[in-house]
Every structure is written in C-alpha cells, then in structure tokens.
Symmetry: C2
Subunit: 367 residues, 2 copies
C-alpha cells in the first residue's frame, strides 16, 4: 500500500471482481452495505474517522481487508481527533491509531481540539462541542486530501441511543428518524458523510471482529464519560429496554428506518407546498430577494406539511436551522390566523418572521 | 337527574351558557378539550367507561359537574366491566361504581367477563383479551342505550406508556402515534370512541381531582398486575425516563401528537396512490369484485406510501388488519420486483396476495 506516499494519487485497480481471498463475514457485510448505499468502489478517496474504539477500528480493518482483496479500489486517509478531554489516554489513543494505520499502510491525519474550552466559550454542551469539533476536523481533512466521502463507524447501537435521546426530548418523526446512513457533511461542499455500519452492525459485532482480527481496540474516551447523556442512556436505559425485548436495538433501528422513509415523502410534499406558497418580493424581481410566503396557502395546508415547509424556507435563507425549536414554528403559525397584518414572530439568532399584506417575510438578524 | 329512569329520553336543556356555578379547574379543562374535539354539548347520550380507578372516576365526576352546571346537556350512562381477574376486588369495584353513579344520579350498566378463560381460548395475551372484552362490552352498552359516543379516561400517562410499548416492538409512525383522541369504536357502526383526557390530563391530575372532590377512588385491578407489560413499563421504565427528563410524559405525548399529524397526511397520499393503482377485475365490472392493484404503479411509489396503500387495500377487503405485520407487507412488496407473475405472498388468517398479469389480487381465506 503506497497511498501514504502520494496524497493526490488515486489507485486505479482492475474493476471489482470476485476475489480468491476469503473475506471475513464482517467485511462482506460492509461490502454489501457499501453497495446498497451506492458508494464508489473505485477511483475515489475516502476519509475514515477512527477514534481507536471497537467500532471505528473494525470499520478500518474491514475497509482495509476489502481494499487488499481488491473488492474496493479506494484510497484511504485515516483521521483521528484528540478531543482534549483526557490528557494521558488522548495522546495514547492518537499514537495507537497512528501505529495501526502505519501497519496497514494508509495515510493518517491527527488533530487536537480543546473541547472543554470550546464548550465553555459557546452555549453548546460538552457533547455538542465535541461533535462540532470532530465534524469540522473531518471536513478539513477531507478537503485537504481532496476526498469525496467521510466515513464514520456509527453502529445500530448508536442509532438506538440517538432515537432514545430524541424521544426523551419529545422529537417528532424528523428527530426520531435518527442518524442518516448518507448525508451531506456540510451545506457548503459536496462532501458526503457515510455511515456504512449503521444499518446492520451492532457494537458486539465490531468488538468481536476486532478480536477475530487479533486487534486490541482502545476504550474510546467518550464511551464512559458520565457527563454525556448518551453514556447514561447506554448504561442504564438500553439494558432496561433489553429486559423487555432482547432485540430492542434492532427494533429501534427499524423504527428509525421507517420514519426516514416517511419524512422523505413528507419533505417532498412540503417542498411542493413551499413552491406553491412562494412569491418573490415585488421590489426585486431579479430573483435574488428572499421569497415571501402566501399566508392563505400555508393556512390551508395540514400542519405536518406546513411546519416542514417553514423549516425549509428558513433553512434556505439562514443556511441552517440551529436553535430552531417547535416553539418558534408555533409562533410563526400563529401569524397565519385571522386577517390582521403587521405582526412578528421571533426566531433564534435575532431573525424574525413578519406578516405583511397577506404574506410572510423573513428578516435575518444580519439584514 | 332522571336519566336512569328513561333510557331513550335525551334531556333538552337550554343552550350552553356561562353558568354562575364556579367550576373546578379539572372540569374546565375537560370542557375545553371536549369542545376542541368537536363533540356534542347538547342532545346526545354518552357512555362513560368507569373502572373506579382515579382516571375514570375523575372523568365521571368532572362530566357530572359540567352537566349540573348546565355547560353540557348530555345524558350519561356509566359502564363498568368486571374483567373477572380478581374475584373479591372485582365485585367490590362494581358495587363502588354502582353506588357512586347512583349518588350522582346517572344510569349504570355492570358487566362481567372471564378474561382469563378468553385469553386461554384465543391466541391473545391477557392484556389483549381484556381490551377486546372491554370494548365489546362498551359497544353493547352504547347500542342498547342508543348512545352516539363512548368515553374512556385514558390520560397522558397512558399515551406515554403506549408510545413506549410500541417503541419496544419497533413500530413505525402509525404505532408510535399512540392512542387517538377520537376514533370509530368499530368498523360496523357509527359509534365514536372519545378520550377527552388524553391530550392534557396526567394521572397525578386525576388523582388530585378525586381527592379535591372528596372521592376515594379504587385501585384499578389492572394497574398493579405485573403480568401486563404496561404495568412494568409504568413501574420501571417511566421512572427511569423521568430521571433524564422530568417532563417526559409531556414529551412522549407531543411525539404522538406530531406523528398523528404526519400519518394523517401520509394516509391521505396513500389513499390517492391506492386509487391510482386500483382497477376492477375484468370478469366483473359491477364494482362488487375486489379491486386489483397495478404492479407498476405500486413499484414506482415510495415505500412509505406503498405500504400504507397496501394496508388500506387489505383492510377494505378483510374488514380489519388483525395479525398483519411488517413481514407480510414486505412479502407483498417482493411480488412487485421483476417481471415474473404467478407468485404468491401469504397473509395471516389464510388470506394471500397473488401476482397475475401485472396485477395484485387479494384472496381472502373464506373466498
């Protein structure tokens, strides 16, 4: 493997063919999932996020196995971020990932963040700060290496925990649909974030794959930190649910899958509603102004579509939905009642929605 | 109150008006919920299911309060079923409900079932058998008394428990949308089943309302029976969830509400899809034959709509969906792939779906 030598060189192997090498079950499953997600099997570079825990180590090992068996002709860059939450083990983890990647013959990029300080300086909690730091790092590594895809090793257990955390917050279908197997990494680039384990692998599978491969994975620094609600969900809630249903991880994953199908349809119908409700501001017909929304069209629509259309409208203009809660959407919906104009609903971040002459207008904080 | 004297006489009081009587908070909330659910305030007879527990006792007391304050001009029939699960307390509960109803001046109907035997004779578990016996009894009482509406005292706690039980089974949006505030009691009549407490009252509210009214409610026989998964959810799972989020009952209720809005839209779009896919069997153009479904139309549709359309198609012909699981829908969906015909998917109860000349055909077990 020479990928570490030349960043920009993408290996061009023969097209995928059945190989004489006997693949591990885990790698075969991964290959099937990768194909189902319609991801490239040749001529592409991928970044794999590796903490050193069982999940990401198993993902890296299996991906490496598929490359060496010539089932995938992809270039791998391993990315590891030290979150700066545990001084000693953080350094050791980074060293361990570096050494494993060297042995396998791939390129590695190590990064370091101070998530504790980051959380203090922002309104984010430790968990959010860690996630934001991690994804920002992965995006930087991907851009630097001209990779098209970033892989994370989320499993069905992560999916189940996410569904439960969202349920605890009273989420609707969008939240309960959990972690998407494929999504854009950010709104500014074409980078894809892919989770090839999430639909089929459990934590027990990644642990046993590492053991079968004779690799002693690290204990991920985040996995036992009781400051994280996710860790408490994993350690207390999931075991209780398993006492009701031994296959509850699978059940929760199925729920997320079904809801993802539902919101696919609902978001599509909401986009149609948004088109019907949109008109351009009359003072600017060039199409560059923010679209106004027809109050009557929105008021007639079912709440399930109206709220999603409003979210899409706000996201398109603000670039994201950070801080937007149900309470804000309810405030905007209140503007739709009756005939009076000139009323305002506040959004987070200083933005607001104004009702004027039968139309809704979004004012961003900056404008 | 004379309703007990003459079943068929519906009291005609003056139209609802603000009364001089000061209503309890609980009764006021109930009145608001009743209006929101667009239920009749005059010239109607309702059956209230009363076990004697806090929830149903509070509902009866508050309904009675609204009638005596002339906010509602409705005739009440109280229905109580002894499930035959606890010999001594079952009889005592029935006596207690009879006496309370007599004091309030309403009519009461007592019934008795042997749910244990019923469960043994069917494939149903104790919980399902109890529910089926209860709703069959309520339907009989309603028909006998020419009532239009049956009320049950389900609370937000019941809603939360239902969402959790469905989640444990891996349900999608339809299951997680929980208990509907208003639905048909059965497919054969116009009887409505209404839960006027479910959107706003918690168990603590019903208990404190009974106490404020000086009524010592009974311990519902079902509420402590550990044979019921619901009881275990209530006693172990809900308290653990509350340690994460003190308002988790409200959160779970909100999730159910949001999902109910979603499935309203999805079922409507699925009905449109079903219409597009349907054609009558050519050998019988009278419209009495079962509709066939066009394979191509279904195959093109998103799974979230296709599966709901298939459920509607099966329900319309079988009268219900008993025993129909995701695995059956997946088997029917498999028929849609490729070009081959002449294949069959089995449904529960001896029914099956056949693919023939580009169409799906349902064979009921009887036909």
């Amino acid at each position: 493997m020479t990928s570490a030598k030349n960043e920009n060189r993408v290996k061009r192997l023969r097209p995928v063919r059945s190989s004489r090498v006997r693949l591990s079950k885990f790698a075969l499953h991964l290959f099937e999932a990768w194909a189902k997600l319609e991801q490239p099997t040749t001529d592409s570079r991928v970044v794999i996020a590796v903490s050193g825990g069982a999940d990401s180590t198993a993902l890296l090992l299996a991906f490496d196995e598929l490359i060496k068996a010539e089932r995938l002709a992809l270039d791998v860059v391993v990315a590891h971020l030290d979150h700066g939450l545990r001084k000693k083990t953080g350094k050791e983890d980074a060293q361990w990932v570096k050494e494993l990647t060297r042995v396998l013959g791939h390129k590695v990029e190590l990064g370091k963040a101070n998530v504790g300080r980051r959380a203090k300086n922002t309104a984010d909690n430790l968990e959010q700060a860690a996630r934001l730091a991690r994804y920002a790092f992965l995006a930087r590594v991907a851009k630097r290496n001209k990779a098209q895809v970033v892989l994370t090793a989320h499993t069905m257990n992560d999916q189940a925990e996410t569904v439960l955390l969202r349920l605890l917050r009273g989420s609707g279908a969008d939240g309960l649909s959990g972690i998407a197997p494929v999504r854009s990494l950010d709104s500014k680039s074409d980078l894809l974030l892919v989770r090839p384990l999430i639909t089929w692998a459990k934590r027990t599978d990644t642990e046993s794959h590492c053991r079968h491969q004779g690799v002693e994975f690290r204990q991920d620094e985040m996995n036992h930190d009781e400051r994280f609600a996710r860790v408490r969900v994993r350690q207390t809630l999931v075991p209780l649910l398993q006492s009701f249903n031994g296959k509850v991880i699978e059940s929760l994953t199925r729920t997320a899958d079904l809801l993802r199908e539902d919101i696919g349809v609902l978001n599509e119908k909401a986009a149609t509603l948004l088109q019907q409700a949109e008109s351009r501001a009359p003072e600017n017909k060039s199409g560059t102004s923010a679209p106004l929304l027809n109050v009557e069209v929105l008021a007639r629509a079912p709440a399930a579509l109206r709220r999603r259309a409003l979210r899409q409208w706000i996201a398109a203009q603000r670039g994201d939905l950070r801080g937007l809660e149900m309470v804000h959407l309810l405030a905007v919906e209140k503007l739709l009642g009756g005939n009076r104009g000139g009323r305002v609903a506040e959004l987070p971040g200083g933005a607001s929605v104004l009702r004027q002459r039968g139309q809704l207008k979004l004012r961003t904080g900056k404008g």
